[in-house]
């Protein structure tokens, strides 16, 4: 099946079908059903697109190494809540190995780390959000590589954006809509955690990219 027919199939057939099924069977949890269903379809669409591409074995090996690193990072920094190298590693992969690798690393990090931390309805959402972070980093790669401040700003925006989107999703899931006090509570928690997230970005992004650039210079 070509790429175009597949994406048409998803948008014109599967998503409307999902809506109809939701209206028929899951009217009380309509938003939760739709958000999870559409996210799963989007991820599946991207994976099939990835399958269709010519990809070298080295790139596959590097994607899985980066994924393993960020999964392991999530485990070995578990003693500090909020301090995780995952987003930083996903951004770095997107920057240096292209947008496809970025998306795959992000999505696979969410999927595989949840084998250790507990899967749930949140997995597809985490996959999509981390994947898109990597994709965006791949799209902005030239600018991010050129200037350090841009990289730091990108990291500072994308980390909290991840937790923001996940919190919005948990609001939708819990109440089938938005209930202001719950949203407010999530935002307060977000700002408390922010400090940790930002510090972790600065540390990891700087350290790893520095290492990288030194190594590149050496290998030349």
């Amino acid at each position: 099946m070509s790429k175009k027919t597949f994406s048409n199939l998803i948008f014109l057939l599967l998503i409307p079908l999902l809506c109809v099924a939701g209206l028929l069977f899951f009217r009380d949890k309509l938003y939760a059903w739709l958000s999870v269903g559409i996210t799963v379809l989007c991820c599946a669409g991207y994976f099939l697109h990835f399958e269709g591409k010519e990809i070298k074995s080295a790139q596959l090996a590097i994607i899985s190494a980066m994924t393993a690193l960020s999964v392991f990072g999530r485990m070995c920094f578990a003693f500090l809540p909020g301090f995780k190298p995952c987003t930083a590693l996903v951004i770095i992969t997107g920057m240096y190995f292209g947008r496809e690798s970025g998306f795959m690393t992000g999505a696979m990090t969410a999927l595989i780390s949840n084998f250790y931390f507990g899967q749930g309805a949140w997995t597809p959402f985490q996959m999509l959000v981390w994947g898109l972070t990597g994709y965006a980093a791949g799209m902005l790669a030239e600018r991010l590589k050129k200037s350090r401040p841009t990289l730091l700003i990108f990291g500072a925006v994308s980390g909290p954006a991840f937790s923001l989107i996940m919190d919005l999703w948990s609001c939708i899931w819990a109440d089938n809509g938005f209930v202001p006090p719950r949203c407010r509570k999530f935002f307060v928690r977000l700002y408390r955690n922010d400090a940790g997230i930002l510090v972790s970005f600065k540390e990891f992004l700087c350290k790893i990219t520095e290492n990288w650039q030194v190594r590149r210079a050496q290998s030349r």
Binding site: L24, F25, F26, D28, K29, A32, W33, V36, F47, L48, F50, E51, I55, K56, S57, A58, Q59, L60, A61, I62, I63, S64, A65, M66, T67, A68, L69, V71, F72, G73, C76, F77, F79, L80, F83, P85, M104, M108, L111, I112, F115, G118, Q119, G120, A121, A174, D175, V179, P181, R182, K185, E203, F204, K207, I208, N211, R215
Partner: protein, 288 residues
């Protein structure tokens, strides 16, 4: 036949049916059936200690969701008491109990899923249509324990060279960051080597073959048919409003026995199979 013996496709569809109903059907009957089914199956699959640890975690999650929900939503007609002039209502509390029940049921079913669905089965499911994805998943899951070992080795190396890890959080953080960066470099080097050796051995030149022995047998078909039948019965009843609950402003639960029975049987299938197998085993031992 127990759940882990069935063909991957039929057990995957079974889990999907149970999870979809648990996550998206808004009815106390379904949540209760699902929690009980998952608990029974986990009790059979896990060791006692693991089971009770999981049980404690689940109960904590459940209670946390149940108690915090009334703090956020003040709808409902029967206030229990007031906090800062806002009502803590019975309806919101029960809504929270249900929400927490659905959350913990999902967590437990995923535990069962990861016990039953091993790496080989995942590879079978993903390997046909999306071989690259399957390769990435298996390689990553292979890398993680290696990384653990490497991390420990680097730690030991640092200790020997006199850089001790102290107990304070900041020191520990700094040390972990350093070790992690070292780990990054070494892992990437080995990844590139893996990639090169894959290329040298002709990765991607031939047709991919699979080494597994899953056959779709008659029993799998029967199991699949029963699952789909029970699931669609429960879904149709829930769609027509026979299995639903309204919490705000007043609690109104409508759960008819027949659809509830359908879903209860669906959830209890793995437990029934486990019990049947262990009885058979006991019986055979008695014969010997």
């Amino acid at each position: 036949m127990r759940l882990s013996v069935f063909h991957p496709v039929s057990s995957l569809i079974y889990f999907a049916a149970v999870l979809i109903a648990t996550m998206f059907c808004f009815s106390p009957a379904i949540q209760i059936c699902s929690v009980v089914g998952a608990l029974l199956e986990l009790f059979m699959l896990e060791s006692k200690r693991e089971f009770f640890r999981n049980l404690r975690f689940t109960v904590v999650v459940w209670l946390a969701v149940a108690v915090t929900n009334p703090l956020f939503s003040h709808k409902g007609v029967t206030p229990l008491f007031f906090i800062n002039g806002r009502a803590f209502t019975l309806e919101a509390l029960l809504y929270g109990v249900m929400l927490g029940g659905s959350l913990s049921a999902v967590i437990m079913w995923f535990k069962v899923f990861s016990k039953v669905f091993d790496r080989e089965r995942l590879l079978y499911i993903f390997g046909r249509k999306t071989p690259k994805l399957a390769l990435i998943i298996t390689m990553t899951r292979g890398f993680v324990p290696k990384l653990k070992a490497q991390y420990r080795r680097i730690c030991d190396g640092r200790k020997c060279s006199g850089t001790y890890m102290s107990e304070s959080r900041i020191e520990r953080l700094k040390a972990s960051c350093g070790i992690f960066t070292a780990l990054c470099s070494s892992t990437l080097e080995s990844a590139v080597q893996t990639g090169m050796s894959m290329k040298a051995r002709g990765f991607g030149t031939g047709k991919r073959s699979f080494a597994h022995s899953f056959k779709f047998r008659f029993g799998d078909g029967v199991f699949l048919f029963v699952c789909i039948l029970l699931f669609s019965a429960a879904m149709i009843y829930s769609g027509t409003g026979k299995l639903r609950a309204d919490f705000y402003p007043r609690i109104a639960v409508s759960s008819e026995p027949l659809p509830m029975l359908c879903f209860a049987v669906l959830c209890a299938i793995p437990f029934i199979l486990e019990v049947k197998e262990s009885l058979k085993w006991k019986f055979c031992l008695a014969k010997i």
